[in-house]
């Protein structure tokens, strides 16, 4: 493997564009650029690990609407590919044109999340969007099919948005079975499908809704983000509006784990391929929506010992930092790195799973999302 192939790339989506930040394998030196989509809200920049170099960006504009942008060269050049429901005219027909007398009452608002399919289905991608929409591409983003069991769900009109909108922001594919899918939507909750998206069941049992009259409804939870455990695909870690949770049974039942932290509000959670049984949360003050106690902090949940560990001391990075739902990521190196982007444009890096931290010396616009493309361990 060449030195270039061993580069660690942090993919940063911000309020004003997309940034690729490239580092050495030791994760000590960082180079910022290329930069693209200036002035536009980039909710996510996703790498497709099955096709090294291919990136997808969820580019949103209050002025001109959303667009799917794709790069084949690690972000140097981008081009618009078919955005769902808004295809390039030469490519596809707008589904709503089938009945022009009844156009959609819900225009596509924002794109939120790309999720590549499994290695054995290398052309498949998923895309989540607002308002509560899920799409699948079978041709690496050249066209998208709506998953109607979500998009035309009988309760769709009743589903409420969260503060970030009616976003479908979490998509997970069971690594053992591409037919088993999970989604998370604000403020609806998590759902599971066992048949590739034809049918979905709500999976929110045990998750509290402090903002609704009913304490444990079937749906209505404002899930903020969910990740799967690196070694156990039946285990999930969840940051919800109502706290931090774990499930060990494919989301059939959730158990709150955050109470020992006091306030267990937050938006983001990450796991790492080389850190099974561990999850990383950025705990926020539930009212201020910034890091509590006046300093940057990350907490590690050890699911085997069922213990919490605070990864930073209060003296290291004082301040009140906001972190969005996609604001934390990990790499796949033997000692996994942790990366956190803040709403005020700081990018924190820990090359040793939280033992030490550094700031990338660059002022980014407010950061929506952080993802990492890295070589895998071994």
């Amino acid at each position: 493997m060449t030195e270039r192939d061993r580069a660690v790339r942090i993919l940063v989506g911000t309020r004003k564009g997309a940034y690729v930040v490239t580092g050495d394998p030791k994760r000590q030196r960082w180079k910022v650029g290329p930069v693209a989509h200036g002035g536009k809200d980039v909710f996510q920049v996703a790498a497709d690990p099955r096709h090294p170099g291919e990136l997808y960006a969820a580019v949103n504009s209050d002025f001109w609407g959303p667009s799917v942008q794709k790069s084949r060269d690690w972000g140097k050049r981008w081009r618009e590919v078919a955005t769902p429901l808004t295809p390039l005219a030469k490519d596809r027909k707008n589904p709503f044109e089938e009945d022009p007398a009844h156009p959609s009452p819900r225009p596509l608002r924002n794109l939120w999340r790309f999720e590549p399919g499994l290695p054995e289905e290398p052309e498949v991608l998923y895309l989540g969007a607002d308002p509560h929409l899920l799409f699948r591409s079978r041709d690496r983003g050249a066209s998208w099919e709506p998953i109607d069991a979500i998009n035309k769900h009988p309760d769709h009109e009743k589903w409420s948005p969260g503060a970030g909108g009616a976003c479908l922001h979490t998509i997970l594919v069971d690594p053992r079975d591409p037919q088993r899918l999970y989604v998370g939507m604000s403020a609806v909750g998590t759902f599971r499908s066992e048949d590739g998206g034809l049918h979905w069941s709500p999976k929110n049992r045990g998750v509290e809704t402090p903002f609704l009259p009913e304490r444990f409804p079937e749906t209505g939870q404002c899930v903020h983000h969910v990740v799967a455990d690196a070694a156990d695909p039946d285990t999930f870690y969840r940051q919800d509006h109502g706290g931090m949770y774990v499930s060990h049974d494919r989301m059939d039942r959730w158990v709150r784990i955050g109470k020992p932290l006091g306030d267990d509000f937050g938006f983001c959670v990450a796991s790492a391929p080389t850190a099974p049984g561990r999850a990383f949360f950025v705990r926020l003050d539930g009212e201020a929506r910034t890091t509590g106690e006046g300093h940057f902090q990350v907490h590690e949940w050890n699911d085997r010992k069922r213990t919490w560990r605070k990864l930073l001391s209060p003296k290291e990075f004082p301040g009140h930092f906001g972190v969005h739902r996609e604001g934390i990521a990990t790499d796949a190196l033997e000692t996994p790195g942790i990366y956190v982007g803040t709403t005020t444009g700081q990018l924190f890096v820990s090359p040793d799973t939280g033992e030490s931290w550094q700031l990338v010396p660059y002022g980014f616009p407010g950061i929506h999302s952080v993802q990492v493309a890295s070589p895998t361990a071994g």
Partner: protein, 89 residues
Amino acid sequence: MLDVHLDRWLRDFGPRGHESVEADSVEHLLDALEARYPRLRFRIRDETGQIRRYVRVFVDGEDVSATTGVTTPLTGARTIDILHSVAGG
């Protein structure tokens, strides 16, 4: 023939500066522009056919975006400005 002035931000989707278009309504004007520049589709209007929230269409200097919108007749009109609204930060 209408003299259409397009926002320079729209250059990413094809049109640059000025266009001459013949149309009897804002809807037909936008149809004509989108036929000329397919990538412009859904940028000025969303997929419901309505003008996007932060886009302004002026007919002879009058903002029709939030009033008659796409149904605005253009009989006798001479100039159209399609601009992004003053918003954002």
